[in-house]
């Protein structure tokens, strides 16, 4: 009887999930498979040569420009991730441990609002803030803190890191916050009672327990960052351009869809490889001290 009801509920679940699942298959899985297929074809002037070949891959891997862009993108995405997560952790910690429970959702709401406002305009305003005659430089010179405007903050990788650390802030804060909220507070008391200091309690109890949230934050910031071409184009200058800009150029300007598809696949593969390596290292590290 019980078993039959379970399968009945499961069957209704399966029927209900079909429309969104089919939507996902048709508009995500099939297109992704098509991109993979395209990456093995080649562009022959106006037509596409559909014979299976690794030509695009060998061309992309041999071309120093593409490889430089890919390496640069991974480095910038890595720097963005480190900056975003390091800046976000204290905030998540503060809201979880030092804000009254009744006011926590207000804080989270305040943190998420900027994220929902126009992305393009936010990026553009960072250009205004960081520019040679920008808000930051004019206020610093106005206060007499610097004599010359700082020029290392716009049109390079630093600007991309600052702007994206701003754009992805809530993505990093929320998973860490959720992990911190789950920590049983009596564990911290026990640790203090057993003679650990506040610092060692944090390092040996709080931090390891918060790691799942930190890992989630790292992945959720690192993966989409690779695909951004707006921020590099607006504030990155020539050194800040990323692989997504090249993918965009291949598709929309050079009209070479197969090469664009190949670069997209290579970008995805390298992001996946770095992410898996990070998860593996993290598991090892967490298991180590115990």
């Amino acid at each position: 009887m019980f078993r039959k009801r379970l399968t009945d509920s499961g069957r209704r679940g399966l029927i209900l999930v079909s429309p969104p699942f089919l939507y996902g298959v048709l508009l995500l899985a099939v297109p992704l498979a098509t991109v993979l297929l395209f990456s093995f074809w080649t562009q022959d002037y106006l037509t596409i040569d559909t014979s299976f070949t690794f030509a695009n891959y060998s061309e992309a891997l041999a071309d120093p420009l593409y490889m430089q862009l890919l390496r640069g993108s991974l480095l910038i995405a890595g720097a963005v991730t480190v900056a975003t997560v390091l800046l976000a952790f204290p905030i998540a910690y503060f809201v979880s441990f030092h804000v009254q429970p009744s006011r926590k959702s207000l804080w989270l709401f305040l943190i998420t609002i900027p994220f929902w406002t126009s992305y393009l305009i936010r990026v553009f305003l960072w250009k205004v803030i960081l520019g040679y005659n920008g808000v930051l430089n004019s206020s610093l010179t106005g206060l007499g803190l610097i004599d010359e405007p700082l020029s290392f903050i716009l049109y390079n990788a630093n600007a991309v890191v600052i702007t994206l650390a701003h754009a992805f802030a809530p993505f990093a804060i929320l998973p860490i916050f959720v992990a911190l909220e789950k920590i049983d507070r009596s564990l911290l008391e026990a640790s203090l009672d057993l003679g650990e200091t506040r610092l060692t309690t944090f390092l040996r109890v709080t931090l390891p327990l918060a790691m799942p949230g930190v890992v989630a934050a790292v992945l959720i910031v690192f993966i989409p960052t690779i695909g951004d071409y707006v921020t590099p184009r607006l504030v990155g200058g020539p050194d800040g351009l990323m692989i997504a800009n090249m993918i965009q150029t291949q598709f929309l300007k050079l009209n070479n869809a197969p090469m664009g598809a190949t670069l997209a696949i290579l970008a995805m593969l390298s992001v996946t490889a770095v992410s898996l390596a990070f998860i593996w290292l993290n598991r090892r590290w967490l298991r180590g001290p115990r």
Partner: protein, 267 residues
Amino acid sequence: MKGLKVYAIAYLLFLYAPIFLLPMFAFNDADIIAFPLSGFTTHWFEELTRNAALQAAVRNSLIIAASTAVLSTILGICAARAATMADWPLKRPMMGLIMLPLVLPEIIVAVSLLVVIVQVFGLGLSNTTIIAAHTLICMPFSIAVLNGAFQNLDPALEEAALDLGESRWSAFRLVILPLVMPGIISSLLISFTISLDEFIIAFFLSGANPTMPVYIWGLLRFPGQLPVVMAMGTILVALSIVLLTIAEIMRRRGLKRAGLKDTGGFL
């Protein structure tokens, strides 16, 4: 923990810096976006009302955002409701595929849809293609919001309605739907906001009629047009904040209706 509080406030200032600057430049009586400010003017807002191309783009974006909100919420209701049901084979991978756009770089979604629509099917790009893509990326957000509403439902309520002679559909309509309504409204507003602001995918998939972010992207190259963009942005930000505040109030009301403690946050 005074230091931490100071840091938290500094961080909020960092988060809000661009939003504070936006209205300053929108009301600033100067052609260039730089300090010092010159004087107060509503000139740029008046210019907005005269710009027919921009208005067309706004209208386009509103149609796309409204359609996306409805579609992604309907699909989200199906998925969130299904998630509360008993397991079926392949439940996790199926849900995984539906939630995948949340972590996939947007350019990958854009590129793959572009390839299928243009190169494989030879179709033209239009508002429909953008709606299809936006529904795909908004669906996970809808599900995240609706999950909260559906998971907190007491299954006894539905069983009681069924025992009292309602059909499954009327039990859903009369009992469950009113209880999850705040979640639905919150999901509609969030998908609407995401679609309205989305640029990366819209840039790849828009046809002859640009959406508002695509139009703004074009304007960013012309310094003379920037104050108008700032005025536009100010209106957008104000609208987003109003919509999100309503969404947040609805979400909290939904939690209260389900008799739950607020754990905060949309995601």
